[in-house]
C-alpha cells in the first residue's frame, strides 16, 4: 500500500517536471495560471514552517518555552539580509544550540 503511494507520488512529481518539456502543453499558459504558479513555493512552504515551529503534537499553538519561534525569527531576518541558505541554516541551528546550552 505504502509502496503504491510512493510510486504514485513519484509519477505525480515527475509529471510536474516533464509536462512543460513534453510538447503537450501550450507554450503560453493563461495569465492567471502563470501568475498563480509564481506563488506556489511561498504558499506551500510557509504553512509547513509555521506548523513545524509553532504547532505541537496535540495541534495546539506552542507559545511558551519554545526556542524554535525565536530561532525561526532570527533565521528569517538573516535570510532576508543575506539571501543565503547556508548562513541561515548555520545561524538558526546556532540559536537553538545556544538555547539548549543556557536553559
Amino acid at each position: 500500500m505504502i509502496w503504491g503511494v510512493i510510486l504514485l507520488s513519484g509519477v505525480v512529481t515527475f509529471s510536474t517536471r516533464f509536462l512543460p518539456l513534453s510538447g503537450l502543453m501550450p507554450r503560453q499558459l493563461p495569465k492567471l495560471v502563470q501568475n498563480g504558479l509564481q506563488y506556489v513555493s511561498i504558499a506551500v512552504l510557509t504553512p509547513i514552517v509555521v506548523n513545524a515551529v509553532l504547532i505541537n503534537q496535540a495541534k495546539d499553538i506552542a507559545w511558551d518555552d519554545n526556542p524554535k519561534i525565536f530561532a525561526a525569527l532570527i533565521a528569517l531576518l538573516i535570510a532576508l539580509i543575506s539571501k543565503s541558505i547556508v548562513l541561515t541554516l548555520m545561524v538558526g541551528l546556532a540559536v537553538i544550540w545556544l538555547f539548549e546550552l543556557i536553559f
Binding site: 505504502i2 509502496w3 503504491g4 503511494v5 510512493i6 510510486l7 504514485l8 507520488s9 513519484g10 505525480v12 512529481t13 515527475f14 510536474t16 517536471r17 516533464f18 509536462l19 512543460p20 518539456l21 507554450r27 499558459l29 492567471l32 502563470q34 501568475n35 498563480g36 504558479l37 509564481q38 506563488y39 506556489v40 513555493s41 511561498i42 504558499a43 506551500v44 512552504l45 510557509t46 504553512p47 509547513i48 514552517v49 509555521v50 506548523n51 513545524a52 509553532l54 504547532i55 495541534k59 499553538i61 524554535k68 530561532a71 525561526a72 533565521a75 535570510a79 532576508l80 539571501k83 541558505i85 547556508v86 541561515t88 541554516l89 538558526g92 541551528l93 537553538i96 544550540w97 539548549e100
Partner: protein, 216 residues
C-alpha cells in the same frame, strides 16, 4: 559547491525524519530517488505518520510540486528541441537548486547546442548529494544527539527559500496569508491545512496582483 552544502543537512534531516515517522529504511531511501523533491518528501513522511488517506498524500505532494511547472516553462525555451530521452532525464533532475543555477547560466550566456549539459551537471551533483545525505540520515542519524535538533534544518531551509522568494508585495501577501491560514486551519482533518492554506494564499496573491495592476 554551495549547492551541496545547503542540501546536505536537509537530506540528513529527511533521512532521520523518514525512519522516525514510520517509513522503512528502504522506503525512506527510495523516496529520495523516486520522488527526489525535498519539500514533498518531508510532507510525505509527515502525512504517512499521521494516518492521512493516500489520495490526500498524493494530492498534497502534487500541490507542493506544482512549482516545477513554472521551472519547466522557463527551461522549455532552451530544452524543447532536445531528443525525448534527454528531456526525460533533465526533467527528472529539475529541482529548486538545479533550476536556480542552470537557468541563471542559460539566460546570461549565448545559446549553444551543449548548454543542457550544465543542467545535467547541476542536477546530477544535487542528486548524488541528496541520496548520500538521505542514506547517512537513515543509517547514521540515530547517533546524532537529539539535542543538536538537526531536524530543525528542514524549516530553516524553507525559511531561507521563502525569504529569498519574497520579492514584491503580492508575494509578501501570499506569505502572510499562508502563515495565518496555517494557524487557522490547523485542526482540519487529514492534514488538509497544507492544501487549504496554499490554495487560499495563492488565490489571495493572484487577486492582489490583479487589483494592483488595475489601480496602477
Amino acid at each position: 559547491m554551495p549547492l551541496q552544502i545547503g542540501v546536505f543537512p536537509f537530506g540528513l534531516a529527511f533521512g532521520i525524519l523518514g525512519v522516525e515517522s514510520g517509513l522503512s529504511q528502504l522506503q525512506t531511501l527510495l523516496l529520495s530517488s523516486i520522488v527526489f523533491a525535498g519539500a514533498s518528501q518531508i510532507v510525505f513522511a509527515q502525512l504517512t505518520s499521521t494516518m492521512t488517506p493516500a489520495s490526500i498524500i498524493i494530492g498534497t505532494v502534487g500541490i507542493v510540486n506544482l512549482r516545477h511547472v513554472l521551472y519547466g516553462i522557463s527551461l522549455s525555451e532552451y530544452l524543447r528541441d532536445l531528443p525525448l530521452r534527454w528531456r526525460l532525464v533533465l526533467a527528472y533532475l529539475i529541482t529548486d537548486e538545479s533550476f536556480a543555477v542552470s537557468y541563471k547560466r542559460f539566460s546570461e550566456e549565448k545559446k549553444t547546442t551543449s548548454m543542457h549539459y550544465h543542467l545535467l551537471g547541476s542536477g546530477l551533483t544535487l542528486w548524488f548529494s541528496w541520496q548520500i545525505a538521505t542514506f547517512l540520515g537513515i543509517f547514521v542519524g540515530h547517533f546524532v544527539p537529539e539535542s543538536l535538533n538537526l531536524e530543525f534544518a528542514i524549516p530553516l531551509t524553507f525559511i531561507a527559500i521563502i525569504a529569498i522568494s519574497i520579492k514584491d508585495k503580492p508575494r509578501l501577501t501570499v506569505f502572510l496569508i499562508s502563515a495565518l491560514m496555517a494557524i487557522i486551519l490547523k485542526d482540519l482533518p487529514w492534514n488538509l491545512w497544507i492544501i487549504g492554506s496554499a490554495l487560499i494564499a495563492i488565490s489571495a496573491g493572484v487577486l492582489f496582483s490583479n487589483l494592483r495592476k488595475r489601480t496602477q
